[in-house]
Amino acid sequence: MIQRLLIANRGEIAVRVIRTCREMGIETVAVYSTADKDNLHVRLADKAICIGPPASAKSYLVRENLIMAALRSSCQAIHPGVGFLSENADFARAVKKEGLIFIGPDPEVIDLLGDKVQARNTAKKYGLPITPGTEGAVSDSAKAVAAAEKLGYPVIIKAAAGGGGKGMRIVRSSAELPENLAIASREAEANFADGTVFIERYLENPRHVELQIIADGNGTVAVLGERDCSVQKRHQKLIEESPSPGVDDDMRRRMAEGAVRMFRELRYQGAGTIEFLVSGKDFYFMEVNARVQVEHPVSEYVTGVDIIRQQILACTEGRLEVDPQSITINGWSIECRINALTPGTISRLDVPGGPGVRWDSFLYNGCTVPPHYDSMVGKLIVHGSNRERALARMDRALGELSIGGIKTNAQQQRWIINHPTFRSGNFGTAFYAEIEKEVEHVR
């Protein structure tokens, strides 16, 4: 067992890692920017080192400062948390080069999964379905129409070199296709100096479903059930639950088979998530997040497995404490992300409690929420024997939660979980946009 670990992160996830480390008898070293000097992770860690001014680019993202802090405080490993450098292969490489353990998969694996085209091809190789589309580039409009008709409308035209919505066009009929193809290609050329485009079937209002994976790097891969993260505000997840109301046993089994094969072949080490888009009875590989995720606690609740603990054991000792065959999913768990709508100082904090309620946060009475970082200040997670009971518990817990001094989205979350569509379990990633105007009036 390692003796000391540095957490290259801040806020809630840093606190989360410290808690498990303390239970494992591992000493922790926190790092902080000058804006975070009184942050809870600094107070909870055994040692804390100031690494720079408030701007992340000059503190939490400066690899040299992080690695120096770890080396000089005699740490054996670095946990990158989520965000910041957690999926940066060069950082992982630099950490390893200094003889430290990076709590995450191999840098080559991070690189491969970070490249969307390579990741897609890898998933396909291990039998996971990918969104149907043209194999290569399309330029001739007659061929494009033929391909689109074969795929079925609506289709989406995407720039091969693209990203960020540039060069993307949704097309609903053959009549609209030639013109849009030309525009998308011109846009792609203008933005990426490469006018190559391809066509994929466009999924309307799909569910976002992901599998939580832990793997020991030696071929043992365990699936800790799935999570449904379909409630998203412009791709930012707001509410997550496990299991997913839209996944049945057959789909669950098919997803897991391909994912386990893929992670085993990659010799994946630590915690990871494989994301899918689900449309009716079909699912399509989207991407892999090669790190622990914000919403991991819902999987912890339904499986009883401490994911951070398994991640540390997998990466430092190449082993897991759980047998992949004996994992069972118990009951239902839901997480609401509590986001700050304004920065400020916490003047009052009442945290919900009672059975089946978990509050993961860096807030304490009197602490400051600086304006420099992610707006998430806490996660409220509940567990119940079924979805209905879990929702009743979440409603009760959100009612108990009171945060003074800053504005948060807590009551908006309460409104969403009581919305008939959310209650029905029948919704996709377009749900939030439909209710956005109403949500924003909730105070």
Partner: protein, 165 residues
Amino acid sequence: MDDRTILALIDKFSSGQLVELELDEGPLHLVLRKESAVVHRPVTVTPGAPVPAPAPNAGGPAVAAVPPEAPIHLGLPAHIDLASEGAELITSPIVATFYRSPGPDAPAFVEKGSRVKAGQTICILEAMKMMNHLEAEFDCEILSVKAENGSLVEYGQPLFEVKRL
């Protein structure tokens, strides 16, 4: 609180080490603040050529030091006590190992009482096997050395207490 108590408080505050005091009592809101006795100066770090250095290998990756930011107000260790009025602190702009001399047997760049010219090296901050020369930004006298040779220094940590010349 009566006037006499307030005056006594101001008296105590003036002679003491506190730099700021804020008090709320009923309708009274009292703020006492000293014109900053402590001025934090940004310093320049020159990622210098490797020198005959305390650490044997200087062939690490070429990493640029973090450029220093405007005056540091937060994150400073609390144990700052200045020897005299008008003194300034030179703080570390990076997380590094602090070396007072260019080599284990070499004399220190500066000692207490040394008078240094702007641009003169006052210490080495070793980070990722790069020997970064920390240079004085202005002519000054070293009043005291605040960090231990060979120790880890964090961002914003005081290294020298100096007086401008």
